[in-house]
């Protein structure tokens, strides 16, 4: 923790370990299938500065996933590693592994920042 009380960034692990990690879906409030999309509603903690300004601690957020997004999101069950998801995505859509890796990793990053999944990483 630094002078201002914020946590300093820990050294990140390498890409190989990141690909071996298994993404897990977070607890959802509800899901809804509408217009070929899956709408997932999750409960998120508001940032501290919003809480200080009087906002509620938690809020609901709904995200719409298209069929490719749903395919990756459903695979995030905590047992399947990112590299396995990449391989099955490449096979299903006749892509090269390199192309699938770019797409899937970027999407998983988005899911992480939106709070729809967390990563299960084995301790080294």
């Amino acid at each position: 923790m630094n002078f201002f009380g914020t946590k300093t960034k820990q050294p990140s692990f390498d890409r190989k370990r990141a690909l071996e990690a298994c993404p897990v879906r977070t607890k959802v409030i509800r899901t809804e299938d509408k217009n070929d999309k899956l709408y997932v509603t999750v409960l998120l903690m508001r940032p501290k500065w919003q809480q200080w300004l009087g906002a509620e601690d938690q809020c609901q957020r709904t995200f719409g996933l298209d069929k490719y997004g749903v395919e990756v999101y459903r695979a995030c069950d905590g047992d399947i590693s990112v590299s396995s998801i990449i391989q099955s995505f490449a096979k299903n859509h006749k892509l090269s592994i390199a192309e699938a890796e770019i797409s899937v990793c970027q999407f998983i990053q988005t899911l992480l920042t939106k709070g729809l999944i967390v990563m299960k990483v084995e301790k080294s």
Binding site: K94, L95, I97, A98, E99
Partner: protein, 298 residues
Amino acid sequence: MKNENNKDFISWHGFSMPIMPEWRPLRIEGGFQKGSMSIGDISSPLFEIRWMRPGAADFDGRSWINGNIKNSELKSASSPPHPNGFSSVGWIRGFEEKDSGKKTVWWGYSVDGQLLLEIIISEIMDNSSYRWIISEALPSLKVFRPGEEWIWRIFSSQFKVPAGFILERHRLNNGDMSLCFMRGKRERLVMRQVYPADLALSRRPLEKWFDAPPFKEKRKFKLESDADGSLEKNRFTVNGWKLIPFPLGFIMPRKCRRIAVVDDATDRIFLVEYEYSEDASGESADNAVKAMSGGAIQ
């Protein structure tokens, strides 16, 4: 696990080489005469391919390779991989430049392909990958002759281009690969693959994909007649002209055929735009679309 059947190909500027599925081009530079491509995996670059077309008919590939070996102050290693179509080959191992680690450098010259290749392989990669490059990839190298049609393969896309077309520009985005070729000053062939097709078609209909060209150009497309082209099931064809904007449209007008096809087998849209002189036919556009059908990795 390195499986022999489990490989992709990279085909660029007249050569073709197998690579492992998890490898990809990291950097592409240069053009037809001279250029380089760096290939690696998720963690680091593994090897670099450099190509050069000497141009002179009396170029002596053997003495060029020998000169390079001499300059490196290392002795030529024995039995270099000798792929078919290469008239002279040579290599050195354990070459070290500054602090970049040891490297193997392989040279090959193809008289038929009029192509000189230099492949620099890092020796600090894992041993199985290194051995695979030496024993599988290098001996399977292929060179296309200038007079034959060339295959271009990059990521999961494949393009077949008639003889004489030279790559002018390329744009390689994930899910949208475009190559622009020129033959002489009047023939221009733009080939594009967009995938997955259903996602692409949900964003804009098939006939509208030509409205967003991958490369900027001065010429504008003008329909040949008032007919809006033919839109059959999964195929859109339109003929017209490519003209310099008004009032200079009379300067070197080019005929133009545009074809867009949805290939259900590969879930891709194939787009071809062929510009040609008035006396030629637009058949190359149809052939280019047909050749792309085998594009996705099977």
